[in-house]
Protein backbone atom coordinates (compact mmCIF):
# COMPACT_ATOMS: atom_id res chain seq x y z
CA UNK A 1 0.00 0.00 0.00
CA UNK A 2 2.62 2.50 1.07
CA UNK A 3 4.80 1.26 -1.77
CA UNK A 4 2.00 2.01 -4.20
CA UNK A 5 1.52 5.49 -2.75
CA UNK A 6 5.23 6.21 -3.04
CA UNK A 7 5.24 5.03 -6.67
CA UNK A 8 2.18 7.09 -7.53
CA UNK A 9 3.72 10.13 -5.89
CA UNK A 10 6.92 9.75 -7.92
CA UNK A 11 4.98 9.21 -11.13
CA UNK A 12 2.95 12.36 -10.53
CA UNK A 13 6.15 14.29 -9.83
CA UNK A 14 7.71 12.96 -13.04
CA UNK A 15 4.70 13.98 -15.16
CA UNK A 16 4.65 17.40 -13.50
CA UNK A 17 8.35 17.85 -14.28
CA UNK A 18 7.81 16.86 -17.90
CA UNK A 19 5.01 19.40 -18.17
CA UNK A 20 7.23 22.22 -16.89
CA UNK A 21 10.00 21.04 -19.22
CA UNK A 22 7.62 21.21 -22.19
CA UNK A 23 6.69 24.80 -21.28
CA UNK A 24 10.37 25.73 -20.92
CA UNK A 25 11.26 24.16 -24.26
CA UNK A 26 8.37 25.89 -25.94
CA UNK A 27 9.37 29.28 -24.51
CA UNK A 28 13.04 28.64 -25.31
CA UNK A 29 12.34 27.85 -28.93
CA UNK A 30 9.81 30.66 -29.29
CA UNK A 31 12.37 33.34 -28.61
CA UNK A 32 14.36 32.30 -31.67
CA UNK A 33 14.43 35.45 -33.82
CA UNK A 34 12.81 35.28 -37.23
CA UNK A 35 10.06 32.72 -37.51
CA UNK A 36 9.88 29.72 -39.77
CA UNK A 37 7.82 31.53 -42.39
CA UNK A 38 10.71 33.96 -42.85
CA UNK A 39 13.17 31.14 -43.29
CA UNK A 40 11.07 29.14 -45.75
CA UNK A 41 10.35 32.15 -47.96
CA UNK A 42 13.84 33.60 -47.62
CA UNK A 43 14.45 36.22 -50.31
CA UNK A 44 10.95 35.86 -51.71
CA UNK A 45 9.32 37.17 -48.53
CA UNK A 46 6.77 39.91 -49.05
CA UNK A 47 4.44 41.06 -46.26
CA UNK A 48 1.49 39.37 -48.01
CA UNK A 49 3.15 36.02 -48.61
CA UNK A 50 4.56 36.04 -45.08
CA UNK A 51 1.13 36.63 -43.58
CA UNK A 52 -0.40 33.93 -45.78
CA UNK A 53 2.24 31.37 -44.86
CA UNK A 54 2.03 32.23 -41.16
CA UNK A 55 -1.73 31.69 -41.28
CA UNK A 56 -1.20 28.37 -43.07
CA UNK A 57 1.37 27.18 -40.53
CA UNK A 58 -0.66 28.46 -37.59
CA UNK A 59 2.04 30.95 -36.57
CA UNK A 60 -0.45 33.81 -36.30
CA UNK A 61 -2.08 32.33 -33.21
CA UNK A 62 -1.04 33.71 -29.80
CA UNK A 63 1.80 31.83 -28.08
CA UNK A 64 -0.24 30.03 -25.41
CA UNK A 65 -2.71 28.71 -28.02
CA UNK A 66 0.20 27.42 -30.12
CA UNK A 67 1.62 25.78 -27.02
CA UNK A 68 -1.55 23.83 -26.30
CA UNK A 69 -1.96 22.82 -29.96
CA UNK A 70 1.65 21.62 -29.97
CA UNK A 71 1.23 19.78 -26.66
CA UNK A 72 -1.96 17.98 -27.69
CA UNK A 73 -0.38 16.96 -31.01
CA UNK A 74 2.66 15.72 -29.14
CA UNK A 75 0.57 13.67 -26.73
CA UNK A 76 -1.37 12.08 -29.57
CA UNK A 77 1.93 11.05 -31.16
CA UNK A 78 1.78 13.54 -33.99
CA UNK A 79 5.17 15.27 -33.99
CA UNK A 80 4.26 17.55 -36.87
CA UNK A 81 6.20 18.17 -40.03
CA UNK A 82 9.65 19.64 -40.43
CA UNK A 83 9.25 23.27 -41.34
CA UNK A 84 12.75 24.26 -42.38
CA UNK A 85 14.81 21.17 -42.39
CA UNK A 86 18.45 20.95 -43.32
CA UNK A 87 18.30 21.31 -47.09
CA UNK A 88 15.13 22.42 -48.82
CA UNK A 89 14.18 18.82 -49.53
CA UNK A 90 13.13 18.12 -45.97
CA UNK A 91 10.48 20.83 -45.70
CA UNK A 92 7.23 19.06 -45.05
CA UNK A 93 8.79 15.74 -44.09
CA UNK A 94 6.97 14.26 -41.09
CA UNK A 95 9.27 14.62 -38.10
CA UNK A 96 8.68 11.10 -36.90
CA UNK A 97 10.14 9.85 -40.21
CA UNK A 98 13.28 11.93 -39.65
CA UNK A 99 13.61 11.04 -36.01
CA UNK A 100 13.25 7.28 -36.10
CA UNK A 101 16.45 6.33 -38.00
CA UNK A 102 18.46 8.89 -36.02
CA UNK A 103 16.98 7.72 -32.74
CA UNK A 104 17.81 4.13 -33.67
CA UNK A 105 21.43 5.12 -34.31
CA UNK A 106 21.75 6.95 -31.01
CA UNK A 107 20.11 4.09 -29.11
CA UNK A 108 22.49 1.67 -30.82
CA UNK A 109 25.44 3.75 -29.64
CA UNK A 110 24.08 4.27 -26.13
CA UNK A 111 23.14 0.60 -25.88
CA UNK A 112 26.62 -0.54 -26.88
CA UNK A 113 28.11 1.84 -24.33
CA UNK A 114 25.79 0.73 -21.54
CA UNK A 115 26.30 -2.99 -22.18
CA UNK A 116 30.07 -2.66 -21.90
CA UNK A 117 30.51 0.20 -19.45
CA UNK A 118 28.00 -0.69 -16.73
CA UNK A 119 29.15 -4.21 -15.75
CA UNK A 120 32.81 -3.30 -16.20
CA UNK A 121 32.68 -0.07 -14.22
CA UNK A 122 30.50 -1.42 -11.40
CA UNK A 123 32.82 -4.42 -10.95
CA UNK A 124 35.97 -2.30 -10.88
CA UNK A 125 34.33 0.25 -8.57
CA UNK A 126 33.25 -2.56 -6.20
CA UNK A 127 36.73 -4.09 -6.21
CA UNK A 128 38.30 -0.70 -5.46
CA UNK A 129 35.90 -0.19 -2.56
CA UNK A 130 36.45 -3.73 -1.22
CA UNK A 131 40.17 -3.17 -0.98
CA UNK A 132 40.55 0.51 -0.12
CA UNK A 133 44.08 1.87 -0.02
CA UNK A 134 45.54 -0.87 -2.18
CA UNK A 135 47.37 -0.24 -5.42
CA UNK A 136 44.25 -1.13 -7.40
CA UNK A 137 42.17 1.34 -5.42
CA UNK A 138 44.69 4.14 -5.82
CA UNK A 139 45.08 3.45 -9.53
CA UNK A 140 41.30 3.55 -10.00
CA UNK A 141 40.90 6.73 -7.95
CA UNK A 142 43.67 8.53 -9.77
CA UNK A 143 42.73 7.46 -13.30
CA UNK A 144 39.06 8.23 -12.86
CA UNK A 145 39.79 11.61 -11.29
CA UNK A 146 41.92 12.41 -14.30
CA UNK A 147 39.27 11.22 -16.73
CA UNK A 148 36.32 13.04 -15.21
CA UNK A 149 38.22 16.30 -15.06
CA UNK A 150 39.16 16.46 -18.72
CA UNK A 151 36.68 17.31 -21.47
CA UNK A 152 35.15 14.53 -23.58
CA UNK A 153 36.75 15.98 -26.68
CA UNK A 154 40.21 15.50 -25.16
CA UNK A 155 39.51 11.80 -24.61
CA UNK A 156 38.18 11.54 -28.15
CA UNK A 157 41.15 13.45 -29.59
CA UNK A 158 43.69 11.26 -27.83
CA UNK A 159 41.83 8.14 -28.93
CA UNK A 160 41.87 9.29 -32.54
CA UNK A 161 45.56 10.10 -32.21
CA UNK A 162 46.46 6.69 -30.82
CA UNK A 163 43.99 4.25 -32.36
CA UNK A 164 43.23 5.83 -35.74
CA UNK A 165 46.37 7.80 -36.56
CA UNK A 166 49.27 6.01 -34.89
CA UNK A 167 48.00 2.46 -35.01
CA UNK A 168 45.63 2.82 -37.94
CA UNK A 169 43.27 0.19 -36.54
CA UNK A 170 39.98 2.05 -36.87
CA UNK A 171 38.48 4.80 -39.02
CA UNK A 172 38.50 8.27 -37.47
CA UNK A 173 34.91 9.01 -38.46
CA UNK A 174 31.79 6.90 -38.14
CA UNK A 175 29.57 6.78 -41.14
CA UNK A 176 26.45 4.70 -40.65
CA UNK A 177 24.14 4.20 -43.59
CA UNK A 178 21.83 1.79 -41.79
CA UNK A 179 22.73 -1.28 -43.82
CA UNK A 180 25.85 -2.25 -41.88
CA UNK A 181 25.90 -5.57 -40.16
CA UNK A 182 28.43 -7.59 -38.23
CA UNK A 183 32.03 -6.42 -38.29
CA UNK A 184 31.35 -3.33 -40.36
CA UNK A 185 28.86 -2.06 -37.80
CA UNK A 186 31.25 -2.79 -34.96
CA UNK A 187 34.05 -0.90 -36.72
CA UNK A 188 31.82 2.11 -37.37
CA UNK A 189 30.60 2.19 -33.79
CA UNK A 190 33.95 1.46 -32.18
CA UNK A 191 35.52 4.93 -31.87
CA UNK A 192 32.48 6.88 -30.64
CA UNK A 193 31.46 4.01 -28.37
CA UNK A 194 34.96 3.66 -26.93
CA UNK A 195 35.10 7.36 -26.11
CA UNK A 196 31.77 7.26 -24.32
CA UNK A 197 32.64 4.00 -22.54
CA UNK A 198 35.80 5.58 -21.12
CA UNK A 199 34.01 8.73 -20.00
CA UNK A 200 30.96 6.99 -18.54
CA UNK A 201 32.98 4.21 -16.87
CA UNK A 202 35.11 6.73 -15.00
CA UNK A 203 32.01 8.36 -13.52
CA UNK A 204 30.33 5.07 -12.64
CA UNK A 205 33.49 3.64 -11.03
CA UNK A 206 34.01 6.72 -8.91
CA UNK A 207 30.43 6.90 -7.73
CA UNK A 208 30.18 3.15 -7.11
CA UNK A 209 33.33 3.25 -5.02
CA UNK A 210 32.11 6.24 -3.00
CA UNK A 211 28.70 4.63 -2.46
CA UNK A 212 30.07 1.30 -1.25
CA UNK A 213 32.63 2.98 1.01
CA UNK A 214 29.81 5.05 2.44
CA UNK A 215 27.86 1.90 3.29
CA UNK A 216 31.01 0.24 4.64
CA UNK A 217 31.43 3.02 7.19
CA UNK A 218 27.92 2.60 8.62
CA UNK A 219 27.42 1.32 12.19
CA UNK A 220 26.01 -2.12 11.31
CA UNK A 221 29.07 -2.94 9.22
CA UNK A 222 31.28 -1.87 12.11
CA UNK A 223 29.21 -4.17 14.32
CA UNK A 224 29.73 -7.04 11.90
CA UNK A 225 33.47 -6.40 11.83
CA UNK A 226 33.58 -6.28 15.62
CA UNK A 227 31.80 -9.58 16.00
CA UNK A 228 34.31 -11.16 13.65
CA UNK A 229 32.36 -11.79 10.44
CA UNK A 230 34.79 -12.56 7.60
CA UNK A 231 35.39 -9.70 5.18
CA UNK A 232 33.94 -11.47 2.13
CA UNK A 233 30.78 -12.27 4.00
CA UNK A 234 30.43 -8.70 5.25
CA UNK A 235 30.61 -7.35 1.73
CA UNK A 236 28.48 -9.95 -0.03
CA UNK A 237 25.91 -10.47 2.69
CA UNK A 238 25.67 -7.21 4.63
CA UNK A 239 26.85 -4.42 2.37
CA UNK A 240 25.87 -5.52 -1.13
CA UNK A 241 22.10 -5.36 -0.72
CA UNK A 242 22.27 -1.92 0.79
CA UNK A 243 24.32 -0.63 -2.10
CA UNK A 244 21.99 -1.85 -4.85
CA UNK A 245 19.71 1.19 -4.59
CA UNK A 246 22.47 3.81 -4.66
CA UNK A 247 24.34 1.96 -7.41
CA UNK A 248 21.20 1.71 -9.55
CA UNK A 249 20.86 5.42 -8.99
CA UNK A 250 24.44 5.97 -10.14
CA UNK A 251 23.88 3.89 -13.28
CA UNK A 252 20.66 5.66 -14.21
CA UNK A 253 22.25 9.06 -13.62
CA UNK A 254 25.17 8.19 -15.84
CA UNK A 255 23.01 6.82 -18.61
CA UNK A 256 21.13 10.10 -18.48
CA UNK A 257 24.47 11.88 -18.54
CA UNK A 258 25.29 10.09 -21.80
CA UNK A 259 22.75 12.41 -23.40
CA UNK A 260 25.14 15.36 -23.22
CA UNK A 261 28.13 13.15 -23.92
CA UNK A 262 26.65 12.08 -27.24
CA UNK A 263 26.40 15.68 -28.47
CA UNK A 264 30.17 16.08 -28.42
CA UNK A 265 30.95 12.57 -29.56
CA UNK A 266 28.44 12.51 -32.39
CA UNK A 267 29.87 15.81 -33.62
CA UNK A 268 33.53 14.75 -33.50
CA UNK A 269 32.94 11.45 -35.25
CA UNK A 270 30.17 12.74 -37.55
CA UNK A 271 27.88 10.04 -36.19
CA UNK A 272 24.36 10.45 -37.62
CA UNK A 273 22.46 10.31 -34.32
CA UNK A 274 19.69 12.27 -32.68
CA UNK A 275 22.01 14.79 -31.02
CA UNK A 276 23.55 15.73 -34.33
CA UNK A 277 20.09 16.04 -35.87
CA UNK A 278 19.15 18.39 -33.08
CA UNK A 279 22.20 20.60 -33.56
CA UNK A 280 21.46 20.80 -37.28
CA UNK A 281 17.83 21.62 -36.50
CA UNK A 282 18.86 24.41 -34.15
CA UNK A 283 21.09 25.87 -36.82
CA UNK A 284 18.28 25.86 -39.40
CA UNK A 285 15.75 27.00 -36.77
CA UNK A 286 13.44 24.11 -37.46
CA UNK A 287 11.26 24.72 -34.41
CA UNK A 288 9.12 21.56 -34.42
CA UNK A 289 12.18 19.39 -34.89
CA UNK A 290 14.11 21.11 -32.08
CA UNK A 291 11.13 20.77 -29.78
CA UNK A 292 10.68 17.10 -30.60
CA UNK A 293 14.37 16.28 -30.07
CA UNK A 294 14.54 18.23 -26.83
CA UNK A 295 11.40 16.50 -25.53
CA UNK A 296 12.87 13.09 -26.34
CA UNK A 297 16.11 13.87 -24.50
CA UNK A 298 14.32 15.32 -21.48
CA UNK A 299 11.79 12.50 -21.31
CA UNK A 300 14.64 9.97 -21.41
CA UNK A 301 16.33 11.77 -18.56
CA UNK A 302 13.18 12.01 -16.45
CA UNK A 303 12.35 8.34 -17.04
CA UNK A 304 15.86 7.22 -16.07
CA UNK A 305 15.77 9.28 -12.88
CA UNK A 306 12.33 7.83 -12.15
CA UNK A 307 13.69 4.29 -12.60
CA UNK A 308 16.59 5.12 -10.28
CA UNK A 309 14.18 6.41 -7.64
CA UNK A 310 11.99 3.32 -7.96
CA UNK A 311 14.93 0.97 -7.50
CA UNK A 312 16.04 2.93 -4.45
CA UNK A 313 12.57 2.71 -2.94
CA UNK A 314 12.28 -1.01 -3.66
CA UNK A 315 15.67 -1.78 -2.18
CA UNK A 316 15.36 0.45 0.87
CA UNK A 317 11.99 0.16 2.64
CA UNK A 318 12.78 3.16 4.82
CA UNK A 319 12.35 5.45 1.80
CA UNK A 320 8.73 4.38 1.55
CA UNK A 321 7.88 6.44 4.60
CA UNK A 322 9.27 9.89 4.01
CA UNK A 323 9.56 11.73 7.29
Amino acid sequence: MTLLTAMLRRTALGIMTLFIVSVLIFIGTSILPGDVANIILGQMATPDSLAALRAKLGLDEPAHIRYFIWLSDLLSGDLGVSKAGAGAGTVGTPISEMLIPRLANTLQLAGAVAVVAVPFAVTVGLLAAMYPGTKLDRAVTFTTLGLISVPEFLVATLLVLVVAVQLGWLPATAYISGQETGMKLVRALAMPALTLIIVASAQIMRMTRATVLNVMSSPYIEMAILKGVPRRRIILRHALFNTIGPIANVIALNLAYLVSGVVIVETIFAYPGLAKLMIDAVQTRDLPLVQACAMIFCATYVVLIFVADMVSILSNPRLRHPK
Binding site: M16, T17, L18, I20, V21, L24, I25, G28, T29, I31, L32, P33, L145, G146, I148, S149, V150, P151, E152, F153, L154, T157, L158, V160, L161, V165, M207, A210, T211, N214, P246, N249, V250, A256, V259, S260, V263, I264, T267, M278, I279, V282, Q283, R285, V290, A294, F297, C298, Y301, V302, I305
Partner: protein, 311 residues
Protein backbone atom coordinates in the same frame (compact mmCIF):
# COMPACT_ATOMS: atom_id res chain seq x y z
CA UNK B 1 33.38 48.29 25.76
CA UNK B 2 31.33 49.85 28.53
CA UNK B 3 31.68 47.08 31.02
CA UNK B 4 35.10 46.01 32.17
CA UNK B 5 35.64 42.32 31.53
CA UNK B 6 38.26 40.26 33.26
CA UNK B 7 39.18 38.36 30.09
CA UNK B 8 41.49 40.30 27.86
CA UNK B 9 40.88 38.59 24.54
CA UNK B 10 37.29 37.87 23.65
CA UNK B 11 38.19 35.99 20.48
CA UNK B 12 40.05 33.25 22.35
CA UNK B 13 37.25 33.05 24.85
CA UNK B 14 34.79 32.16 22.15
CA UNK B 15 37.07 29.54 20.71
CA UNK B 16 37.32 27.94 24.11
CA UNK B 17 33.57 27.62 24.53
CA UNK B 18 32.83 23.96 25.21
CA UNK B 19 30.58 23.42 22.18
CA UNK B 20 32.64 25.44 19.71
CA UNK B 21 34.01 23.15 17.01
CA UNK B 22 37.75 22.56 17.37
CA UNK B 23 39.70 24.77 15.01
CA UNK B 24 41.64 22.64 12.60
CA UNK B 25 44.18 23.96 10.20
CA UNK B 26 43.74 22.90 6.61
CA UNK B 27 46.53 20.46 5.90
CA UNK B 28 47.28 19.84 2.26
CA UNK B 29 48.61 16.54 1.03
CA UNK B 30 51.40 16.58 -1.53
CA UNK B 31 48.85 16.26 -4.32
CA UNK B 32 46.89 19.15 -2.85
CA UNK B 33 50.03 21.30 -2.76
CA UNK B 34 50.76 20.42 -6.37
CA UNK B 35 47.18 21.40 -7.22
CA UNK B 36 47.51 24.76 -5.48
CA UNK B 37 50.76 25.45 -7.38
CA UNK B 38 49.21 24.66 -10.77
CA UNK B 39 46.07 26.69 -10.08
CA UNK B 40 48.19 29.62 -8.90
CA UNK B 41 50.30 29.31 -12.05
CA UNK B 42 47.28 29.52 -14.36
CA UNK B 43 45.74 32.35 -12.34
CA UNK B 44 48.99 34.27 -12.75
CA UNK B 45 48.89 33.59 -16.50
CA UNK B 46 45.39 35.06 -16.67
CA UNK B 47 46.81 38.38 -15.54
CA UNK B 48 50.32 38.44 -16.98
CA UNK B 49 49.84 36.06 -19.93
CA UNK B 50 49.19 38.67 -22.63
CA UNK B 51 52.16 40.77 -21.52
CA UNK B 52 54.71 37.93 -21.44
CA UNK B 53 53.56 36.22 -24.61
CA UNK B 54 56.07 36.48 -27.49
CA UNK B 55 53.47 37.43 -30.12
CA UNK B 56 49.88 38.65 -30.23
CA UNK B 57 47.18 35.95 -30.30
CA UNK B 58 46.05 36.92 -33.81
CA UNK B 59 49.52 37.41 -35.30
CA UNK B 60 50.23 35.19 -38.26
CA UNK B 61 53.96 34.65 -38.10
CA UNK B 62 56.04 35.98 -40.97
CA UNK B 63 57.50 33.47 -43.39
CA UNK B 64 60.87 35.22 -43.04
CA UNK B 65 61.09 33.94 -39.48
CA UNK B 66 61.12 30.34 -40.63
CA UNK B 67 63.80 30.56 -43.31
CA UNK B 68 66.39 27.99 -42.51
CA UNK B 69 69.90 29.50 -42.80
CA UNK B 70 71.67 28.04 -45.79
CA UNK B 71 68.42 26.91 -47.42
CA UNK B 72 67.47 28.46 -50.74
CA UNK B 73 63.69 28.21 -50.14
CA UNK B 74 62.48 31.77 -49.50
CA UNK B 75 58.87 30.69 -48.81
CA UNK B 76 58.93 28.03 -46.08
CA UNK B 77 55.74 26.53 -44.64
CA UNK B 78 54.52 28.32 -41.53
CA UNK B 79 51.54 26.22 -40.46
CA UNK B 80 51.80 23.28 -38.05
CA UNK B 81 55.49 23.90 -37.50
CA UNK B 82 57.12 21.79 -34.79
CA UNK B 83 58.44 23.55 -31.67
CA UNK B 84 61.55 25.58 -32.36
CA UNK B 85 63.35 28.79 -31.48
CA UNK B 86 60.82 30.93 -33.37
CA UNK B 87 57.69 29.40 -31.85
CA UNK B 88 58.49 27.50 -28.67
CA UNK B 89 55.40 25.33 -28.89
CA UNK B 90 55.07 25.31 -32.66
CA UNK B 91 52.47 27.04 -34.80
CA UNK B 92 48.81 26.37 -35.51
CA UNK B 93 46.87 25.80 -38.73
CA UNK B 94 47.22 29.44 -39.80
CA UNK B 95 50.82 29.77 -38.74
CA UNK B 96 50.09 31.54 -35.44
CA UNK B 97 52.20 30.93 -32.34
CA UNK B 98 50.63 28.21 -30.20
CA UNK B 99 52.30 29.42 -26.99
CA UNK B 100 50.98 32.97 -27.43
CA UNK B 101 47.49 31.73 -28.21
CA UNK B 102 47.50 29.48 -25.17
CA UNK B 103 48.64 32.36 -22.93
CA UNK B 104 45.96 34.66 -24.35
CA UNK B 105 43.41 31.86 -24.25
CA UNK B 106 43.91 31.39 -20.50
CA UNK B 107 42.40 34.81 -19.93
CA UNK B 108 39.38 33.93 -22.04
CA UNK B 109 38.73 30.38 -20.80
CA UNK B 110 39.45 30.98 -17.11
CA UNK B 111 37.96 34.46 -17.06
CA UNK B 112 34.66 33.42 -18.61
CA UNK B 113 34.44 30.29 -16.46
CA UNK B 114 35.15 32.20 -13.26
CA UNK B 115 32.63 34.91 -14.10
CA UNK B 116 29.98 32.27 -14.95
CA UNK B 117 30.61 30.33 -11.75
CA UNK B 118 30.40 33.50 -9.65
CA UNK B 119 27.12 34.40 -11.34
CA UNK B 120 25.81 30.88 -10.79
CA UNK B 121 26.67 31.20 -7.11
CA UNK B 122 25.13 34.63 -6.74
CA UNK B 123 21.84 33.46 -8.24
CA UNK B 124 21.88 29.88 -6.90
CA UNK B 125 22.77 30.68 -3.29
CA UNK B 126 20.36 33.61 -3.08
CA UNK B 127 17.42 31.59 -4.40
CA UNK B 128 18.47 28.38 -2.61
CA UNK B 129 18.66 30.04 0.80
CA UNK B 130 15.45 31.93 0.03
CA UNK B 131 13.72 28.62 -0.72
CA UNK B 132 15.12 26.97 2.41
CA UNK B 133 14.20 29.88 4.67
CA UNK B 134 10.95 30.78 2.97
CA UNK B 135 9.59 27.23 2.87
CA UNK B 136 6.00 26.53 1.81
CA UNK B 137 4.88 27.97 -1.51
CA UNK B 138 8.19 29.76 -2.30
CA UNK B 139 10.10 26.56 -1.79
CA UNK B 140 7.84 24.33 -3.85
CA UNK B 141 7.55 26.75 -6.78
CA UNK B 142 11.31 27.35 -6.92
CA UNK B 143 12.14 23.67 -6.46
CA UNK B 144 9.71 22.42 -9.12
CA UNK B 145 11.00 24.99 -11.57
CA UNK B 146 14.56 24.06 -10.70
CA UNK B 147 13.91 20.33 -11.14
CA UNK B 148 12.60 21.07 -14.61
CA UNK B 149 15.73 23.00 -15.56
CA UNK B 150 17.91 20.25 -14.14
CA UNK B 151 16.03 17.70 -16.24
CA UNK B 152 17.12 19.44 -19.43
CA UNK B 153 20.66 18.40 -20.32
CA UNK B 154 22.64 21.63 -19.93
CA UNK B 155 24.30 21.38 -23.32
CA UNK B 156 20.87 21.11 -25.01
CA UNK B 157 19.65 24.20 -23.22
CA UNK B 158 22.79 26.08 -24.19
CA UNK B 159 22.61 24.98 -27.83
CA UNK B 160 19.02 26.15 -28.20
CA UNK B 161 19.68 29.48 -26.51
CA UNK B 162 22.92 30.18 -28.37
CA UNK B 163 21.28 29.48 -31.71
CA UNK B 164 18.51 31.85 -30.68
CA UNK B 165 20.50 34.81 -29.41
CA UNK B 166 23.98 34.26 -30.79
CA UNK B 167 27.21 33.76 -28.91
CA UNK B 168 28.97 36.80 -27.52
CA UNK B 169 31.04 36.71 -24.37
CA UNK B 170 28.44 38.39 -22.10
CA UNK B 171 25.72 36.04 -23.41
CA UNK B 172 27.98 33.06 -22.81
CA UNK B 173 28.65 34.14 -19.21
CA UNK B 174 25.01 34.84 -18.36
CA UNK B 175 23.76 31.66 -20.03
CA UNK B 176 26.30 29.39 -18.36
CA UNK B 177 25.81 31.16 -15.05
CA UNK B 178 22.05 30.64 -15.14
CA UNK B 179 22.32 27.01 -16.26
CA UNK B 180 24.71 26.16 -13.44
CA UNK B 181 22.73 28.21 -10.93
CA UNK B 182 20.21 25.36 -10.85
CA UNK B 183 22.67 22.84 -9.41
CA UNK B 184 24.01 25.44 -6.97
CA UNK B 185 20.41 26.12 -5.95
CA UNK B 186 19.84 22.47 -5.10
CA UNK B 187 22.91 22.23 -2.89
CA UNK B 188 22.40 25.62 -1.23
CA UNK B 189 18.78 24.70 -0.49
CA UNK B 190 19.59 21.33 1.03
CA UNK B 191 22.44 22.76 3.13
CA UNK B 192 20.21 25.65 4.14
CA UNK B 193 17.44 23.26 5.22
CA UNK B 194 19.92 21.32 7.38
CA UNK B 195 21.13 24.46 9.11
CA UNK B 196 17.65 25.95 9.41
CA UNK B 197 16.41 23.22 11.74
CA UNK B 198 19.56 23.26 13.89
CA UNK B 199 19.39 24.33 17.52
CA UNK B 200 21.40 27.50 17.16
CA UNK B 201 19.03 28.88 14.52
CA UNK B 202 16.14 27.92 16.76
CA UNK B 203 17.85 29.75 19.63
CA UNK B 204 18.39 32.84 17.50
CA UNK B 205 14.74 32.81 16.51
CA UNK B 206 13.59 32.40 20.10
CA UNK B 207 15.69 35.31 21.28
CA UNK B 208 13.94 37.39 18.62
CA UNK B 209 16.54 37.91 15.91
CA UNK B 210 15.26 39.14 12.57
CA UNK B 211 15.18 37.01 9.44
CA UNK B 212 18.02 38.94 7.77
CA UNK B 213 20.23 38.56 10.84
CA UNK B 214 19.59 34.83 11.02
CA UNK B 215 20.35 34.35 7.32
CA UNK B 216 23.53 36.42 7.25
CA UNK B 217 24.95 35.58 10.68
CA UNK B 218 23.80 32.03 11.34
CA UNK B 219 22.93 30.26 8.09
CA UNK B 220 25.42 31.65 5.55
CA UNK B 221 28.56 31.15 7.68
CA UNK B 222 27.52 27.58 8.34
CA UNK B 223 26.99 26.68 4.70
CA UNK B 224 30.11 28.56 3.56
CA UNK B 225 32.66 25.77 3.90
CA UNK B 226 30.77 23.04 2.00
CA UNK B 227 29.78 25.62 -0.60
CA UNK B 228 33.43 26.58 -1.06
CA UNK B 229 34.29 22.99 -1.89
CA UNK B 230 31.39 22.81 -4.27
CA UNK B 231 32.56 26.05 -5.89
CA UNK B 232 35.75 24.32 -6.96
CA UNK B 233 33.89 21.38 -8.51
CA UNK B 234 31.39 23.66 -10.20
CA UNK B 235 34.25 25.73 -11.59
CA UNK B 236 35.69 22.59 -13.19
CA UNK B 237 32.32 21.69 -14.73
CA UNK B 238 31.97 25.20 -16.09
CA UNK B 239 35.46 25.12 -17.63
CA UNK B 240 34.62 21.82 -19.31
CA UNK B 241 31.26 23.17 -20.43
CA UNK B 242 32.65 26.41 -21.91
CA UNK B 243 35.47 24.50 -23.60
CA UNK B 244 33.01 22.00 -25.05
CA UNK B 245 30.84 24.79 -26.43
CA UNK B 246 33.89 26.41 -28.00
CA UNK B 247 34.92 23.04 -29.31
CA UNK B 248 31.51 22.76 -31.01
CA UNK B 249 32.16 26.20 -32.50
CA UNK B 250 29.45 27.83 -30.40
CA UNK B 251 31.51 29.45 -27.66
CA UNK B 252 34.21 32.10 -27.98
CA UNK B 253 34.39 33.18 -31.60
CA UNK B 254 37.65 33.48 -33.57
CA UNK B 255 40.06 35.23 -33.89
CA UNK B 256 39.99 35.43 -30.09
CA UNK B 257 41.66 32.37 -28.74
CA UNK B 258 40.23 30.08 -26.12
CA UNK B 259 41.41 26.61 -25.27
CA UNK B 260 38.39 24.62 -26.45
CA UNK B 261 38.27 26.47 -29.75
CA UNK B 262 42.02 25.99 -30.25
CA UNK B 263 41.61 22.21 -30.03
CA UNK B 264 38.86 22.31 -32.62
CA UNK B 265 40.59 24.52 -35.16
CA UNK B 266 43.79 22.48 -35.04
CA UNK B 267 42.24 19.00 -35.08
CA UNK B 268 43.16 18.62 -38.74
CA UNK B 269 46.84 18.75 -37.77
CA UNK B 270 46.54 15.67 -35.59
CA UNK B 271 47.29 13.13 -38.36
CA UNK B 272 50.53 15.01 -39.17
CA UNK B 273 51.71 14.84 -35.60
CA UNK B 274 51.21 18.57 -34.90
CA UNK B 275 51.15 19.40 -31.21
CA UNK B 276 48.94 22.45 -31.77
CA UNK B 277 45.69 20.68 -30.72
CA UNK B 278 47.37 18.97 -27.77
CA UNK B 279 48.79 22.06 -26.03
CA UNK B 280 45.44 23.73 -25.24
CA UNK B 281 43.89 20.33 -24.40
CA UNK B 282 46.66 19.71 -21.88
CA UNK B 283 46.20 23.23 -20.51
CA UNK B 284 42.55 22.43 -19.78
CA UNK B 285 43.45 19.06 -18.30
CA UNK B 286 46.16 20.40 -15.96
CA UNK B 287 43.92 23.19 -14.70
CA UNK B 288 40.86 21.04 -14.06
CA UNK B 289 42.80 18.18 -12.50
CA UNK B 290 44.65 20.66 -10.25
CA UNK B 291 41.39 22.20 -9.04
CA UNK B 292 40.07 18.71 -8.33
CA UNK B 293 43.16 17.83 -6.28
CA UNK B 294 42.68 20.92 -4.13
CA UNK B 295 38.95 20.23 -3.77
CA UNK B 296 39.65 16.67 -2.61
CA UNK B 297 41.82 17.95 0.23
CA UNK B 298 39.43 20.70 1.24
CA UNK B 299 36.43 18.37 1.24
CA UNK B 300 38.31 15.83 3.35
CA UNK B 301 38.98 18.72 5.74
CA UNK B 302 35.30 19.60 5.76
CA UNK B 303 34.56 16.08 6.92
CA UNK B 304 33.76 14.65 3.52
CA UNK B 305 30.11 15.51 3.94
CA UNK B 306 30.06 17.07 0.54
CA UNK B 307 31.27 13.96 -1.21
CA UNK B 308 28.06 12.21 -0.20
CA UNK B 309 25.96 15.01 -1.53
CA UNK B 310 27.64 14.96 -4.89
CA UNK B 311 26.39 11.46 -5.66
Amino acid sequence: MAEPIDRTDTATTFEELPDAPPRRRLRLSWSGKLGVCIVAFWMAIVFIGPSISPYHEADILDEALFIVPGSDNPYPETDYQPPGSVAWLGTDYLGRDTLSRTLFGARMTIGISLASTLLAYLVGVTLGIAAAVGGGMTDSVLSRFNDAILSIPSIMLALVMIAAIGSTIPILIVLTGLIYASSVFRIARSLGLDVKVSDFVEAARVRGEGLWWIVTREILPNVAMPMATDFGLRFVYVILFISSLSFLGLGVQPPQSDWGGMVRENLSGLPYGAIAPLVPALAIATLTIAVNLVVDDVSAHAGGRLAKRMI
